[in-house]
């Protein structure tokens, strides 16, 4: 079953066309990675899929009309309500999804993202890794069918990246469909079932990691990435 199908979507900001007519589908239960250089149009594509703004052209079909209640979102900037503690942010975001959480559930959520003991800390004072983990916890408060993570592991140390990867895999095992954007090819190759590679507003390639390696005669995803994004071709077989 497809959760989202986008056909020929385009988006222009002022004179610059950021997304230039892309087709994509997101299938239930998969972990889909959206990769590409900075400015490739990944975040804009995610924003259109989420309905943050409409495409200038093309269509987006979603699996249900009330999809907002069934999507969890972590934006690149990991925004939290300023002046609120981690615990209060969880409560507040739960309220935005019309979910009531008691203290026990809040604690459980904090433990899941290894933030027990940090519940009373202002969210803005948490470390980068803690903020990312809290942001991912926020995305799952309402047990969504579909989770979108915009660069969930960006700027984190290897331990924190590993923790984020583990969280993503656990979400998928629990039945959620996960779409995440990333620059980290190791991360992508380890956890993604399927990859969409964007370059200059277009889809340059898409498929399963193994089939992409085979198609581009490459040893690793980084080589495919470099080749398709005008980088060097180091690593080709």
């Amino acid at each position: 079953m497809q959760l989202i199908e986008a056909k020929g979507i385009r988006k222009r900001f002022h004179s610059r066309e950021v997304v230039k007519g892309i087709d994509l589908e997101i299938r239930q239960g998969e972990i889909l990675a959206l990769i590409g250089t900075n400015g490739a149009g990944k975040s804009t594509t995610l924003a259109m899929l989420l309905g943050i703004f409409p495409p200038d052209a093309g269509t987006i079909t979603r699996w249900r009309d009330d999809y907002k209640a069934h999507i969890g979102v972590q934006l690149q900037s990991t925004p939290f309500f300023e002046g609120y503690t981690a615990e209060e942010n969880l409560r507040l975001f739960a309220a935005l999804y019309n979910v009531k959480m008691d203290q026990g559930q809040i604690q459980q959520k904090l433990e899941e993202c290894k933030l027990q003991g940090a519940g009373k800390t202002l969210a803005s004072r948490l470390s980068g890794g803690q903020q990312k983990r809290l942001a991912i916890a926020v995305t799952t408060l309402h047990h969504p069918d579909f989770i979108i993570l915009d660069e969930p592991a960006a700027g984190l140390d290897p331990c924190a990246r590993h923790e984020i990867r583990t969280m993503i895999v656990r979400l998928a095992k629990n039945g959620a469909t996960v779409l995440f954007s990333s620059h980290d090819m190791e991360e992508v190759s380890r956890i993604a079932d399927r990859i969409i590679l964007m370059h200059e507003g277009r889809i340059a390639a898409q498929g399963e990691p193994k089939s992409l390696l085979k198609q581009y005669h490459a040893e690793n995803l980084e080589s495919v990435y470099l080749e398709l994004t005008d980088g060097t071709q180091a690593g080709r077989k």
Partner: protein, 238 residues
């Protein structure tokens, strides 16, 4: 809505600006000027003026910055992908901030009554309740509009000063306008802050005609502010 209200209330109470601008400054001003200026009517005059200033500073200025900060952090972008309707979010926040403004004004009033030895009848107190609710609600809603017009904290600072200072200094908050030039009194007839002060003073004096007219005008301004808040709400700076 209840959770958003209570969390906003709790978080806002931790704001140091609240203590300074909406409690210490108005209480100090009301008591200081009320004791210093020897005129029989002045203590009530300055107390109502300071109650109004307390509300204006918090409900318009502090909240404008709070809204702008959340938007600049990108929180409202997330709000756009949740199923919560915008009006519910705006109402919950406004409700919490209005309650804080109300409590601040009551604290200023009680401090003034105690220090300046004023008396307020039960009828006057009940007449004050709607005014102390509707006016801050209008200012809070207007602060959403100010935040929407601002891109940075500097913009918000300039805009709030440009709006609040003329409203306050053209009004009769601190001094009587009885001997003010005619043009100033005419201008003041269109000053929403003066409507608020008039409503407060007529509630104290139980002057019902003035009370209903000015409370009506304040309510109308709040309704306009509500429409402006919803129509101009900005989720993002992009």
């Amino acid at each position: 809505m209840k959770t958003i209200f209570s969390l906003t209330f709790k978080s806002a109470c931790r704001d140091p600006f609240l203590l300074l601008w909406s409690l210490i400054f108005p209480i100090g001003g009301a008591i200081g000027l009320g004791v210093f200026i020897k005129s029989p009517d002045y203590p009530e005059h300055i107390l109502t003026g300071m109650m109004a200033v307390s509300i204006l500073f918090y409900a318009l200025t502090t909240t404008s910055f709070a809204i702008l900060t959340q938007r600049r952090r990108g929180v409202y972008n997330l709000l756009r992908v949740t199923p919560l309707p915008l009006w519910k979010y705006v109402c919950s926040l406004s409700g919490a901030w209005t309650s804080i403004s109300f409590l601040c004004a009551v604290l200023v009033m009680l401090s003034g009554i105690f220090a300046l030895k004023l008396s307020v009848s039960i009828s006057a107190f009940f007449a004050l309740v709607p005014v102390l609710t509707i006016a801050p609600l209008g200012y809070v809603l207007f602060s959403f509009f100010i935040a929407s017009l601002s891109r940075t904290e500097n913009d918000a600072s300039i805009l709030t000063n440009l709006i609040t200072l003329p409203l306050v200094f053209c009004s009769g908050a601190f001094y009587s306008l009885k001997s003010a030039p005619q043009f100033l009194r005419i201008i003041n007839g269109f000053n929403p802050f003066q409507w608020f002060i008039n409503a407060l003073r007529s509630a104290f004096d139980l002057s019902w005609d003035s009370y209903f007219i000015n409370t009506g005008l304040v309510s109308l301004a709040a309704l306009v502010a509500f429409l402006l808040a919803l129509k101009t709400f900005r989720y993002t700076d992009a």
